[in-house]
């Protein structure tokens, strides 16, 4: 039995919201893949007082995927939450924080993400494209074609693929593949890469330019490809963990 009983705190109380904001910031700051997540609902909160101005807070959070890639410098508050018909992805997180003298620090966090069921989307929007597997052949072909198309038409640095973030395939009324992927600039120009693209190396962490591309490829009725790539510009790496190392670290996050 704890010496001090747990303090009652509502999920919509300002202290809970402040703790959740700190937790979401931590989660996005420590994620290496996919998109930034925004708070949708505080599911539960428990507070264990530890002493004067010192308490442990347990949060259960419901998050939603935004359109901002995790490498994007756009602040979370400016990121748009993906709509339900975009095939929303939800994140469930358990977070343990300490609040000491009014300052939050995250002690532990555990998150799982999952996409909404295809049946739910179809029920609301029968013709909406659904999320496809990132290793789907049509998805991979579309990403390759899009990146080649961009590199062949853009005189700047030759871009290489970092990761595919999202892919959707629509079969009716037209067969369309829509992809989103993160890219990084290399030490080659597009012209130099024509001879030997394999030799092009990603720029060191402190010089690298990251970017994000969206592309759509119509397969039926007529073949068409549209590509749009935006470079984020200079990124400041985290001193303790080299930025590219974090990007390429394999994880089990779904």
């Amino acid at each position: 039995v704890p010496a001090t009983p747990p303090a009652l705190l509502g999920c919509d109380d300002p202290e809970s919201e402040a703790a959740a904001e700190a937790a979401v910031s931590y989660i996005n700051g420590h994620s290496h893949h996919g998109y930034k997540f925004a708070l949708n609902r505080i599911e539960n909160v428990r507070v264990l007082p530890q002493g004067p101005n010192n308490e442990i807070i347990f949060l259960e959070l419901d998050l939603l995927e935004t359109t901002c890639h995790i490498l994007s410098p756009t602040p979370l508050k400016n990121c748009t939450v993906r709509s339900f018909i975009e095939h929303a992805v939800e994140g469930d997180c358990d977070v343990k924080l300490q609040r000491l003298d009014g300052k939050f620090s995250v002690l532990a966090s555990k998150c799982h993400s999952h996409a909404d069921s295809s049946e739910d989307i179809i029920q609301l929007c029968p013709d909406c494209p659904l999320l496809a597997r990132l290793n789907n052949t049509e998805v991979l072909e579309t990403v390759t074609a899009a990146l080649n198309d961009h590199n062949s038409k853009t005189p700047g640095a030759y871009l290489k693929l970092l990761e595919i973030g999202r892919a959707k395939i629509q079969y009716s009324p037209a067969h369309i593949v829509v992809v989103e992927f993160a890219v990084a600039a290399t030490n080659c120009s597009a012209e130099e890469a024509k001879d030997n693209a394999e030799a092009c190396q990603l720029l060191p962490d402190d010089q690298s330019n990251f970017g994000f591309c969206t592309a759509s490829r119509v397969i039926i009725p007529s073949k068409d490809l549209k590509v749009d790539c935006q470079l984020y510009g200079h990124q400041v790496p985290t001193p303790a963990i080299p930025f590219l190392s974090r990007v390429f670290q394999p994880t089990s996050v779904s």
Binding site: N40, I42, F84
Partner: protein, 38 residues
């Protein structure tokens, strides 16, 4: 003993039907949905 009595009182109170016009206090959790619920 103090803890036991308090727990018993709460349990007993919950068994008593609410009088007409009684408004339940708002639930502390979960909180409001900011966007939409999956």
């Amino acid at each position: 003993p103090v803890v036991k009595r308090a727990v018993a009182e709460v349990a007993q109170r919950d068994k008593v039907p609410h009088p007409v016009g009684f408004v339940s206090p708002p639930l502390l959790c979960p909180g409001k949905v900011r966007h939409f619920k999956i």
